[in-house]
Subunit: 416 residues, 2 copies
């Protein structure tokens, strides 16, 4: 087997939006693309074949989780994450930074202290409030981050070098530089100091990546991560700094503000600073209106747990419930109104679930706590995302992106 | 669509063992056959296509569960259980009796009283010990059984007429007469009185079945149930009585004793009393050695939750672990010894799981609480059962059943 090198080709531009092709050793990704999340080397409830059949082109697995369990060495011994999990298409891994910060109750030295770095993302805790916790799980220094495993309490250290070494072992096609992910609770001063440290970590990640060749017999691409929170000066400086480094692509991470309007603002500060020719990944975004907003502002790929996590809670993605547009493109299949509903989860959908099962049956499975219900909803939601992205790509090719966006968002009173 | 009538043809007999073909409106079942259990109109974790792909020919769903949730009327409105769940092959339903008795803490009037009718099947409580419970969930009378829903505490009554009406609505190909399922805790006197009542219920079930045609546009077959516990006189009398009624087939139910040897003894009392030409279903049996024992004694079909339930707990069916025969034909995939094991769950197995994934990966999924692990183990275990049954049928055709049985049981020190 020969592996193609990594490349990104923009085939069409419409304003800031781009239609592209991202070539990786395990296949080509047509962009804009949604990246399905398979945290622990499995897209929850589904087989690799099923994920692929939804139209998903690429999955995201998590460095922190796989490092702790089953261990990156074990995954490497099985030929990397693709072979370990039986997924032949492209894979991305994150740097581990987000989980190290989000799964710990943080106690930090020298700069801001918060009891829980992410108590709900848009919570009401004052920025920089110095709350001490009895058992800190995480400690940041210039070198890296010391943290306790959320599984067994053992102590571990992630540095930029560790992160890249682990990601070399896991063997994803696209890997990410190590970063600190700040929260809306951090003030501008802390966010700026953190971003500068993230830039030093980016340099170290890049150097380690260049000095240590791939573990598996195919190349990997390394993306840098732009941080800077929702502060214009910091975000723009971070974008310029990371853009100037020799990465294959750029990811936009961290705190994107407390509202969807702020998220779009952050993107408007960021993407103009990034080199046109490199692919751009927006971390952790997956709501329909956010994807329209991010594509319009020049992002190429997006990962988010929400389509799969919502599915497991009975949150089914659909534009309409009968004649009625669904405000968040979502219905709750557990609702009593679907108890005798013979229609598919989403009328017109061509997915496995919708072509075979009624809402009544899927609802029964949820009410009866049958895992099959979660599977069927997950399959549908991933197919929904794949169809949405295909429509977006077609509209970019045809020059009808604005019309497509309006047709989706106006019936439910959303603008971007 | 035209539906064939119900028929059973014995194509080969070897001693008491029979090779047969059971024709139902939804397809033919080659017997001996294992019946996969799909309690709530779903074989847990799997789609209908997946169940069929394992080689399963027929599934068992539960009248009590579907009556309570989603309701037999709802299932009927969707065209019956086959259409509701998207399973085109044969279905059996039980009478509801077993769940009514086993899910209740029993308080019974007139005859024996036990706190919990099934506190572990082979427990040490004295037979007939009169233990009162504060909140009885179940009450038996000549008319039927009054019970509380285990879901919401509502009160319901099942009579022979209710059971058949519900099973007509559900629309399984093979349905069962209403019975009381006694336990090893009941003494002979109670077991005998209960069996006599079960015979009166059998007559009522049959009469209601004959007086009320099928709800769906295909016929159903009704099996009577032999009870009588592990008492020779009672069991033989029950077999003779039920054998004399106009059922399409016979099921052997209830308490089969406290040991596997007793179970085989009960079968030796029972099957000689049953008409040769009617199919025989043994309720709730599914361990490998029990199946060999039951086939040898003239049973044609068997249902049991153990292959699927064990799978969800990491209990993987396999004959060997490397060179070593597995005493209970089962390994625990969660065991640390499989952490880096590149082999399939069972070497030589042709199932979806074994042809794609390593023990190491499946173990990882179990350790990481990924539902996919339960799915992959369930798929394998059902394929294991289907392959076992196919081997048994081939051996009956070839006259090599005894050799096959010895090749399975002798390496692990089991006899039948």
């Amino acid at each position: 087997m020969t592996y193609p090198d990594f490349s990104f080709t923009i085939t069409q531009e419409r304003g800031a939006a781009r239609l592209g092709r991202l070539v990786t050793p395990h296949g080509t990704i047509d962009t804009p693309a949604f990246v399905a999340v398979g945290t622990q080397a499995a897209v929850k409830t589904l087989t690799p074949e099923e994920v692929l059949a939804t139209g998903a082109q690429v999955i995201f697995t998590n460095t922190y989780h796989l490092y702790l369990r089953p261990g990156h060495d074990l995954v490497a011994a099985f030929g990397g994450v693709h072979r370990f999990m039986g997924w032949g298409a492209p894979v991305m891994t994150d740097s581990g930074g987000f989980q190290v910060f989000s799964l710990g109750a943080g106690l930090e030295h020298g700069v801001g202290k918060v009891a829980n770095i992410f108590p709900g993302e848009a919570g009401g805790v004052l920025a920089g409030a110095p709350v001490r916790t009895a058992r800190p799980l995480m400690k940041v220094s210039e070198d890296g981050v010391r943290f306790k495993s959320h599984i067994d309490g053992t102590l571990h250290t992630f540095t930029p070098e560790t992160s890249i070494a682990v990601q070399r072992a896991l063997g994803a096609d696209i890997i990410l530089a190590f970063d600190e992910c700040t929260s809306p609770l951090h003030d501008e001063a802390y966010t700026a100091r953190s971003a500068e440290r993230t830039h030093r970590w980016a340099e170290r990640s890049l150097r380690f990546f260049q000095d240590h060749p791939a573990v598996h017999p195919y190349p990997q691409a390394l993306y840098g991560i732009v941080q800077g929170g929702a502060f214009e000066r910091v975000r723009k400086a971070s974008a310029r700094t990371v853009a100037g480094m020799d990465f294959h692509g750029l990811a936009i991470g961290g705190n994107l503000g407390k509202t969807k309007a702020q998220m779009r603002q952050v993107l408007e500060w960021t993407t103009p600073e990034l080199p046109r020719e490199k692919p751009r990944h927006l971390l952790g975004i997956g709501e329909v209106e956010d994807i329209f907003g991010a594509v319009e502002r020049g992002c190429d790929t997006f990962d988010c747990v929400s389509p799969t996590r919502n599915a497991r809670n009975g949150g089914v993605l659909a534009r309409f419930d009968g004649e009625q547009p669904l405000p968040r493109f979502r219905l709750n299949i557990r609702n009593a109104r679907y108890a005798r509903d013979p229609r598919p989860l989403e009328e017109g959908c061509d997915c496995y679930t919708c072509t075979r099962f009624s809402r009544a049956y899927v609802r029964h499975l949820f009410k009866a706590d049958e895992q099959l219900g979660q599977r069927l909803a997950t399959l549908h939601n991933l197919r929904f995302m794949a169809r949405l992205m295909a429509q977006i790509r077609e509209s970019l090719a045809a020059g009808t992106f604005d019309a497509l966006k309006r047709s989706w968002l106006e019936p439910v009173g959303l603008g971007v």
